[in-house]
Symmetry: C2
Subunit: 476 residues, 2 copies
Amino acid sequence: MAEVEDRRSRLQDDLEQVTELLQAYEARIEARDADEADAASQLSDSPELAKLRHKLDQMHPADVAYVLETLPVDERQVVWDLVRQERDGEILLEVSDAVREWLIEHMETDELVAAAEQLDADEIADLAPDLPPEVMDDVFASLSVEEREQLRAAMSYAEDSVGALMDFDMIGVREDVTVEVVLRYLRRRDELPDHTDQLFVIDREEHLRGLLAVNRLLVSAPDALVGSLMASEGIVSLRPEQDAQEAALAFERYDLVSAPVVGAAGKLVARVTIDAVVDFIRSRNESEMLSAGGLREDEDLFAPVWDSLRNRWTWLALNLVTAFIASRVIGAFEHAIEKLVALAALMPIIAGIGGNSGNQTITMIVRGLALGQITSGNARKLLAKEFLVAVLNGLVWGAVVGLFAFVIYHKWQLGAVMMGAMLLNLMLAAIMGFAIPITMHKLGRDPALGSSVMITAITDSGGFFIFLGLATIFLV
Amino acid sequence: MAEVEDRRSRLQDDLEQVTELLQAYEARIEARDADEADAASQLSDSPELAKLRHKLDQMHPADVAYVLETLPVDERQVVWDLVRQERDGEILLEVSDAVREWLIEHMETDELVAAAEQLDADEIADLAPDLPPEVMDDVFASLSVEEREQLRAAMSYAEDSVGALMDFDMIGVREDVTVEVVLRYLRRRDELPDHTDQLFVIDREEHLRGLLAVNRLLVSAPDALVGSLMASEGIVSLRPEQDAQEAALAFERYDLVSAPVVGAAGKLVARVTIDAVVDFIRSRNESEMLSAGGLREDEDLFAPVWDSLRNRWTWLALNLVTAFIASRVIGAFEHAIEKLVALAALMPIIAGIGGNSGNQTITMIVRGLALGQITSGNARKLLAKEFLVAVLNGLVWGAVVGLFAFVIYHKWQLGAVMMGAMLLNLMLAAIMGFAIPITMHKLGRDPALGSSVMITAITDSGGFFIFLGLATIFLV
């Protein structure tokens, strides 16, 4: 059983070996403390680097990508220089966006052209946004007419559309041929495209007529007709301009491995495979987590500090503005705080719990929208429920914080104001927590992005205003 | 091209039709304003329900699940009663955890047993946690010896392990037979298991020898030997007790459709397929989003209010405690605030931005840990970088808030204290934002869960303490 290994732990081992070889190499450089020229010359002759190059050659492109993402920039550069040029393309496809940008910045035009020429049209389209225009021109020039057509098609669709996920590497067959003919046709190629779980049955005008599962082919009699074996009812087909999220839901819902992409007039234009869908799901979830964490985009762990700062400033600036507003709201009630300084100590509680509760509502609604579970039919019922939950929470937690205030400051009026403010702020949180994502969705924007900042801003300023306002009326 | 439809929009149509039929049915009930008994008797004879049952019979189980998740509870009950009993099982597998619990609560023991008996061992294992013990006993009794073994095996592994994802529906072949023999063997079955992209090559002791891609089979000569066609080098194989997250990474990394699960001594025990992995990825991301939003678990959109409250209280209570602590920190400085009330208006800015910046660091580290990019080798470098970013942010944004304070309150000392407090709180945020997830990871806990609450608590109380402390020393 030596052949079968636990790939994950092997990956850790690979990383360790690479790091050790790199350290040995750096040690040698320092020992020799050679000048630039010598150091450069050693690149080729150092035995560690020879070992390292050999190691990298054996590794799966995705694993090389993992190593590159994990290494600090200087060591990353050494490793990248050792990767064989014909593998550059497939590795660029595997690394994270941030690291890809870094690698491309550090490559020559001719290297980039050579790398891109190793790839299929749809893969080049994935790299295209990061490639300098002069590189794309050379690449275009090097492609066949058909490939150019495909590249133009793939590049013409938005990043989050089916068109951005599709590839053109598929097998079409005719309805009126037998299994035997299809098998002979397949045997003529030494291998089938990855993820070929079904063949696409098309007519002479390339209209999609049905789908023939490869496994169906395996278990069928040689003289059976494709038309009699293919599925044609209720097929899942996608349109290139469709939202990739819908494609992901379809793959998940119907457990697909591949699906046809059909253009105008039902012509088969491409296919989408599960590996592209999984990458999309992963990267989409990542960007949701990142924006939830207040980061604008995927960040290279070892990005230059300046890039990190740029990546984080958008949100810090946004939060600063909302914080200033909240601060001015408090400022408007300074006379009340002067009279009763306890208000200053208590007000963050009202704001904090309000934000927490509002974010709970937002999370529910955003998820419901993403899964298409919220309809005009049930929206009102949902709002009513969220509001009821808020009222009950307001009474329960309002009582708790009211008691807290009373115990510490021995003023029952203060406790009452706390409770009232908590109740009102949670009601505000529920209404806005429902309204914000629904509105963004109606406006065609992604409710997952930014909703949380908005609700927090509202429940902060709103909470301070409600609490200090009530206090001014009833206490001071 | 009438057969090929856009499945997603069709799903919306299905939902509309179902809702209309339900409304027509309810209208009829009200019109007749019959008593319970009559109402019950109508269930069978009403033409709307007949139409509805027919409609449901035609729908994919995943689509029926979608409809059930989207309907309010009373209508959900009507639809569930109309679903054919032999489909109950497959639909229970498709619905969200929360809705599944609800459905199971509303089913009789014998219905549940009947539903479970429709399923494979690994599918029953998925339902097991929600099924009452007496049901599981009856199910066990109804299984064959082999199925019982499989069910026990599948149930014996943790929820987030490979064992929970695996199924037993796979095809093994021997090394020493020809392609022709394999094909004849396959033709004997009328269909292959779903997601059969490869056959598992095993010896007499069921040790995994290699993998034979189905597509390889298709394009090979009939007299070729399996041993000569199979892949045996660097195969990706999983262990049942392995973390499911590692399996997901492997499927994503190496674009797998299925992978063998190998037990002690390299014996083939089961396989994992991409559809199970996609469901795992989706549900894992969901629980991350939910916990980030302060929800304990997946919540049925139409859960009884009481369930919703229970689901949300854990986090509200937790935040309340941290808010109380922050409040007492402020309380300790009331004398300073009395002397200079502006402090009350300015302190939320320091706390807010600190929390924001800390969450950015946490997000980076949690993501790095999840992708296995953070090693003992690069951890120190990372901390240094995050700290540097924090210092620079502290100087820039500190200057901004300092200016803000000066402009509004015309006290340059106040501005200076603001700047100093911002700088210190962002440094605190960076160190804790790094330390918290790393520590949780070392303790074997999921750093994605709870880190955010902790960092916010620290930057709130810490921010108030730093700001008010500096103010007490230098201002009042």
